[in-house]
Symmetry: C2
């Protein structure tokens, strides 16, 4: 493994300075080497090909919901979740040195970020919103091309990465904007503890483990209820459940489920064996420290 | 009610020609008057203020998941879901008359739409992708401003709305891209049958009714399992379940749930009474014909 000789190389989707890179820092420390990829599937294939040691992907956002694409990819590739972290999405108004707030005329960013700062734009109607591909990429662009009176909205890390100035911090409408990221490694890797994690709920789940899995059931009434008995009868606490229709199989569903517990604890082992019995398909995505 | 004197006015989020407008046609026929609003919350407040008769909002997309913002708004406003429909998201390459595929140099659209047509752009690398605010809005812009060699990606309806040409139909990577919309009306309104609905699974659920609700449980292991017993013990078939952390209440969750059944059927009434007993909070969002 390359990792043993040096710093951990971590694939992520987006440009340098993206919130995923913040997640990499929280999970692996500042010496990890972020390796940018354009798409989520190329993040996964970079790990498969050995171009990187690990991958860091978002699984869900408190406002936008689950990233289904990554759940699909988790099923296609044999990787394991070995850690998780939660990043608070803080949108900052960023500009090249020399551009002041008073000279600002237009602000570039990803439309999702622009739409999360509507109160700011309502307060300053003279500032035009311009959609761009990527939050961090918009900082890179305004630094390189310096369009007159142009700024960007992105993370603090993006400002630091491209040597831009932060004109205003935290201009997002909703402070309850968190994205949960996970660390992916080849199957059989040891779980890691995430560092510097920010918990959206404010209370850290000390020394607790979380197990994530995906399963499907037969299409009969009560199938999910029976499947959940495997956990409920052992007092295991669910922390996420989500159904998703199976492609091309009307009336059949896949369920994403997280619960508190570690896969090698005896009652969790029993619960998983019981769940395997009650489901058509079961894949354990990983057991790791809950943040 | 204005509706009795004339055509139904239906609020939706986006520009004329948006997929929401297609949903309005499927739900209410072509004589309904679409009323565009900038944001989802202003769609809801337009219905509350009586500026429109009904509202049509997306609840989930097969690729992108649930629209949490609209579930939040459903809890804030006292409206009822009276019908649903499913729109297949077809991305078309659209240009002003006179712009041919050979002279096309750049294509404007919402980044989500651009990212759903990656195979097309990989095949034609000379065509530049330019992010824009809105799919239908990008057609409107290229028609009004006619930038040289510029096209857009949007719905067939957007092309028709702005008198633009479709150069290529269905350039999306994934045909399994459906958005489920619902019709909202003031509480106490009669359910309506959606028309011309396209079912993502391909098999229509004839004469079946669906009930949608939101509930929360106490934070104890097995709470969800017990709540689901209210449905499972009556053989009611779940078709959607999703947990969402409650804001500001760590460890507590809200669940979105859909099942097959009509709220005035005796066994459904019993199930709902039982569920109310087992949950901290319960709100029935509506009973309506399943598509």
């Amino acid at each position: 493994m390359q990792e043993k000789r040096g710093r951990t190389r971590a694939a992520f989707q987006g440009e340098l300075g993206a919130f995923s890179q913040q997640a990499i820092r929280q999970l692996l420390g500042k010496h990890a080497v972020p390796v940018a990829r354009l798409r989520f599937d190329t993040v996964f294939s970079a790990l498969k090909a050995g171009d990187v040691d690990v991958a860091v992907i978002p699984l869900e956002n408190t406002l936008a919901g689950s990233v289904h694409e990554n759940y699909d990819l988790l099923l296609k590739f044999p990787f394991e979740i070995t850690a998780e972290t939660s990043v608070r999405v803080v949108h900052n108004l960023i500009a090249p040195p020399g551009v002041s707030f008073r000279t600002l005329r237009r602000v570039y960013s990803h439309p999702v970020a622009l739409n999360q700062c509507l109160d700011f734009f309502a307060k300053y109607p003279a500032i035009e919103r311009v959609p761009f591909y990527d939050t961090a990429g918009s900082v890179k662009m305004v630094m390189e091309q310096q369009p007159p009176g142009a700024g960007a909205i992105a993370s603090e890390l993006a400002a630091a990465t491209y040597n831009a100035h932060i004109l205003k911090r935290g201009i997002e409408d909703d402070r309850q904007n968190f994205t949960r990221f996970c660390l992916l490694e080849h199957a059989g890797s040891k779980p890691r503890a995430g560092r510097h994690s920010q918990d959206p709920s404010g209370n850290r789940r000390k020394n607790q483990w979380k197990t994530s899995l995906v399963f499907s059931t037969k299409n009969v009434p009560g199938a999910l209820f029976r499947a959940l008995s495997a956990l409920a009868l052992r007092d295991l606490n669910l922390i996420k459940i989500e159904s998703r229709p199976l492609r091309g199989k009307p009336w059949e569903y896949m369920f994403y489920l997280d619960f508190i517990g570690r896969r090698d604890e005896p009652n969790v082992k029993n619960a998983l064996a019981h769940l395997a019995e009650l489901s058509d398909f079961l894949r354990i995505l990983g057991s790791y420290r809950a943040v």
